[in-house]
Symmetry: C3
Subunit: 256 residues, 3 copies
Amino acid sequence: MITLTTDFGLRDPFVGMMKGVILGINPDARIIDLTHGIAPQDIRGAALAIAEAFRFFPRGTTHVVVVDPGVGTHRRAIAASAHGHRFVAPDNGVLSGVINTDPRARTYHLNQKEFFLDGAGGTFDARDVFAPVAAWLDLGKEFDELGVQISDPHTLELPAPIIKESEIEGQIINIDSFGNAITNVRASDLKAIGEGPFRVRIRDTEAGVVVCYANGECNVLHALINSSGLLELFLDRGSAARSLGLEIGEQVTVTM
Amino acid sequence: MITLTTDFGLRDPFVGMMKGVILGINPDARIIDLTHGIAPQDIRGAALAIAEAFRFFPRGTTHVVVVDPGVGTHRRAIAASAHGHRFVAPDNGVLSGVINTDPRARTYHLNQKEFFLDGAGGTFDARDVFAPVAAWLDLGKEFDELGVQISDPHTLELPAPIIKESEIEGQIINIDSFGNAITNVRASDLKAIGEGPFRVRIRDTEAGVVVCYANGECNVLHALINSSGLLELFLDRGSAARSLGLEIGEQVTVTM
Amino acid sequence: MITLTTDFGLRDPFVGMMKGVILGINPDARIIDLTHGIAPQDIRGAALAIAEAFRFFPRGTTHVVVVDPGVGTHRRAIAASAHGHRFVAPDNGVLSGVINTDPRARTYHLNQKEFFLDGAGGTFDARDVFAPVAAWLDLGKEFDELGVQISDPHTLELPAPIIKESEIEGQIINIDSFGNAITNVRASDLKAIGEGPFRVRIRDTEAGVVVCYANGECNVLHALINSSGLLELFLDRGSAARSLGLEIGEQVTVTM
């Protein structure tokens, strides 16, 4: 099974071409679109998305993650084994959330060009490099047939919340298509400062923590622990992001 | 075969996660996206979409329909057998168009939590409840292994046209991505008032009924019976909805 | 294997219905979305997209291409064999780029209505005609069981660049979702006028040709030969189309 995560959108036939290349090598491959809606060149957004989503797939799945502003430069193409899954991506930090969280992760520089698409150019490595390598991995090729192990993959520091005695300083790390603002504060972080009830503050607005969307009073900002175990700000039947003009990176404070 | 209909959009990895959960239980499942473009929390829009679309799939298909403003509250999760198809959804009326049109429909409250995803929270039942149940149904589990039969599913009154002696009062029930305005008036309703030719009136604009889009004069409002057998207002090579500012719920009158 | 290219978008269940019809006839069909994001009724855009994309799929793939402003009129439904692939489309020029480039291409008028969906109307031939015919072709039906060979398919002149001694006059033929402007000038056209370096001019702006996106200076217009072998204007980490207001059809001049 192969999943695809990119910033290509669905307007152009780019994703379709990747699938054609995979199926040309591996006609029985199962291909699942994870998302092609990562904001253009948002490496951090893609890193957060794949770190969250891979675990819902069976072990052994191969995940292709391509947000690649450096395509065509000397940045390496890499593959990784982590958490029992396989990953293929440019070496720009997009796999940070899966490599950094598994001490037994191994990373490889994909330097065996015979597994790339013939006549590959320099501007569409998703189709010419990452898709065919994923097809070969899914067929059973070993990582060390496709490349050489490396110990210095490029990684990003994904923002962690600052936990004080009775307060947590987190930040917004994503805004979903409903306009909910997802923070980097985990349910376990809340436990570290007490039993609650908690108050969440963003700018001058306070929000109480409830357990489901429908428990929020209409048009009043609330927060809940979402399906990823992360604190999320929402407006029941509205868009918290649009109403408050929330942006990724904004600070959120949790107190008891 | 399993189809998916949601209001999740395709920007976030939510739909991909649902597929991962299904394939973890049922690795050979065929999964077809019906649409993820239902307007956020538009239960009525989803009810109309699934009622129209299910019949183009083979009997025995399992359809997952999730527009779910009440996720995490005490609203039930249900499954239904109707028209030889299977459906899985929140109990909020989203299955009205399939349950109400089959007198032999049976509905079940999904209360057997061992078929849900382990550690399911309260905010993403599409992934944690509906996806795994659909995977099990597609594998051959019986409805009464997954829940108990109920006789009181929540249903919506989908708007019906008012048919008088020589006039029909209908309304716009959907606007598609071409800007065509679809009404609740059926071809059979037209037969009830005569042989035609018919005139369709919306506000102060009149439109004659033609048989295909290309028969409409450029930039003049026309109507036709669409591929679902419903009366539809359109502007050839333009957007009727944008040009006239049409909205769902607006009244449309048909006369001979 | 069957690919789908349409202007239907993904908001409505139209594409899902096509898949249901295909799978009803051919339950084991592999269906790949090439794109549903062709601009509404942009026959030329679809012709360029399929001409570029089909080659990344295995020979024998069946490609359904539906941009069809004439649906319901007397325009023919056609199928074609070209480049070892199969194509199904309305006879409006959308297959020009695949028929015109293979001297051994054969084209057929799809007139055997027993292979259409029962009770087919006149407004949704993608579902009622093209999807079922593609399902039958993929199952092994021969073209001449489905229709009769014709010698006069409707074709479009896809715009070719004008190559002078030391200058090429091309034009923008597509703008992708990153805002890159793709021209009809091929790498081989550049070779015809010299060894370079080349300068690309659009309106009053000049751009040098580099080899990858990251080699463009930030916020300065550059050009490269893209993954399809076509000259493309881009702004590294920006949208060339939005910044300069570029449009399809605009002239681009290449000089040494």
